[in-house]
Amino acid sequence: MSLLYSPFMINALIGIILGGITAMITGALSTLRNVHYLSAEVTHSALGGAAIGALIYSQIEYEPIIFITATTFSIISSIITGYIVRERGVEATGLAIGVVLAISLSTYSIVIGTLKAELIIKVNSYLLSDILLITYSDLMGMTLISFIGLIVLIAFYKELIYVCFDMEGAEALGLKTKIYDYMAFALIGATGAVLARAMGALLIYALAILPAASSIELSNSTSKIFIYTFTISLIAGLAGILISLTLNLPTSGTIAATATTIYILIKMAKKII
């Protein structure tokens, strides 16, 4: 159990908290904006971005570049989707997400074949993170973005909710909705990249999309959607890491399984009550 007190463990715990914060922002906001699978898209864009970042890294040997490129890709992909949704309506979402996903994943597939083994591991951590191996520089970047994301969410909470609830009405009331809508998409993208690094894109459904979907059913206010999503992700993260260490199972998979179990339990509890 000495692992519990190791620096790995402290990094992992910070990673889980950041994962909770970012799952909350990317998951709840994309659900509220009615673009449910956008958080899945952006985390996979982060994967494509990480692959490009690794390519750049092999030239310049600057480690943070991988996270920076991943985040940049994720934000850009979210904003492009936002543009398509705004221009063509929510009906176009499926196609928009499909196209961006296809581009990100093919970028990933092409680049990954050209990388050295150690870099492949780094890139693949965006697909399925080994939370015990988060580096210090990644943790700094993740903390910074989660913190900024949280501040922006709190500062512009009303505006973001208004835009999600009733874009036309808000615009007619005099709100500059375009700015806040793109702010929402940028937030979804930026926090999605952190979540990909913390937990891995493969866990996005378990950690962000399902919790947000169940939260919207449970909540009797918009802020509770955020609080519940955060709580579910956090509990899943903590329980998952303890279970995985005790039973010697892969951490990320255990976290995902825990989150899914919580989701199913909530569903069942709702049926009974």
Partner: protein
């Protein structure tokens, strides 16, 4: 005195001409019903008056202001209730917060809500008979209740002009009547000018002072008895009959949606 002045307005989206050469004036106070088939450009007309869509040609003035250039000033004078299918009804927003949105959006950031604002929201809710709903969430309400909440949101900033887009869709008849009573009261007591869009005039015919029949162009505009005749209805809807019975007027229109 005319409060809205539209001259030769044409609005096009990409290649679709939604409105063509539309000219009319609206006096204040008044209750104006705008009817026309689906896709006639009714919503587009309201949005153009608010400066929410670009005009391709022509001129719009609201209290002497151009709504595209002075959008913020113009929107301050107006209350707008969008077609309800444009609202994300599944979001559990508190009714109080929906009503207060009418004030907060018109403030500078951080859009602080004061005690007086809350009191004002309560007063409006009281006026519309929805005070007991204030702690519920929007997604728990019936169609009629939702519509009243959106009306409250529009009224809280005391608009001079109130525009409602198909407010009776999915609203039970009793709520329709209570909403109409409130609109009459607003017109009478506050001198509010009301523009109400609908594709079916029958529920609102008693409310109407003026009727505009529109199908891309203005087909008729005037007092109910002048504007509403079989010729103009058939121009707009491709057929229709008017029946006057017991001092009431009924229009029977085919359910065709061509233009």
């Amino acid at each position: 005195m005319s409060i809205i002045n539209v001259e030769n307005l044409t609005v096009t989206y990409d290649k679709i001409v939604a409105l063509e050469d539309v000219t009319f004036k609206i006096d204040t106070p008044s209750i104006n019903i705008i009817i026309g088939p689906n896709g006639a450009g009714k919503t587009t007309l309201l949005k153009a008056i608010m400066g929410l869509v670009k005009t391709t040609r022509g001129r719009i003035e609201v209290l002497g202001l151009n709504p595209m250039e002075k959008s913020f000033e113009v929107r301050k004078l107006m209350g707008y209730i969008p077609q309800r299918d444009r609202v994300m009804e599944g979001i559990p927003m508190k009714v109080t917060d929906v009503i207060l949105m009418g004030i907060a959006t018109k403030r500078e950031w951080p859009r602080i809500i004061s005690r007086e604002d809350l009191k004002e929201a309560e007063n409006i809710a009281e006026f519309l008979g929805i005070k007991d709903l204030m702690n519920k969430t929007f997604n728990q309400l019936s169609g009629g209740q939702k519509q009243k909440v959106l009306l409250a949101r529009a009224l809280i900033s005391k608009p001079k002009i109130l525009m409602l887009d198909e407010p009776f869709n999915g609203v039970d008849v009793i709520s329709q009547y209570s909403i109409m009573e409130k609109l009459k009261e607003l017109r009478k007591i506050n001198g509010t000018t009301i523009l109400l869009v609908t594709h079916d005039i029958n529920p609102v015919i008693e409310l109407a002072e003026n009727v505009m029949i529109i199908n891309r162009r203005v087909i008729a505009f005037g007092k109910v008895h002048e504007a509403l005749n079989e010729e103009s209805l058939s121009k707009a809807y491709g057929g229709g009959r008017i029946i006057f019975a017991e001092g009431k007027c009924y229009s029977i229109i085919g359910d065709t949606h061509h233009r």
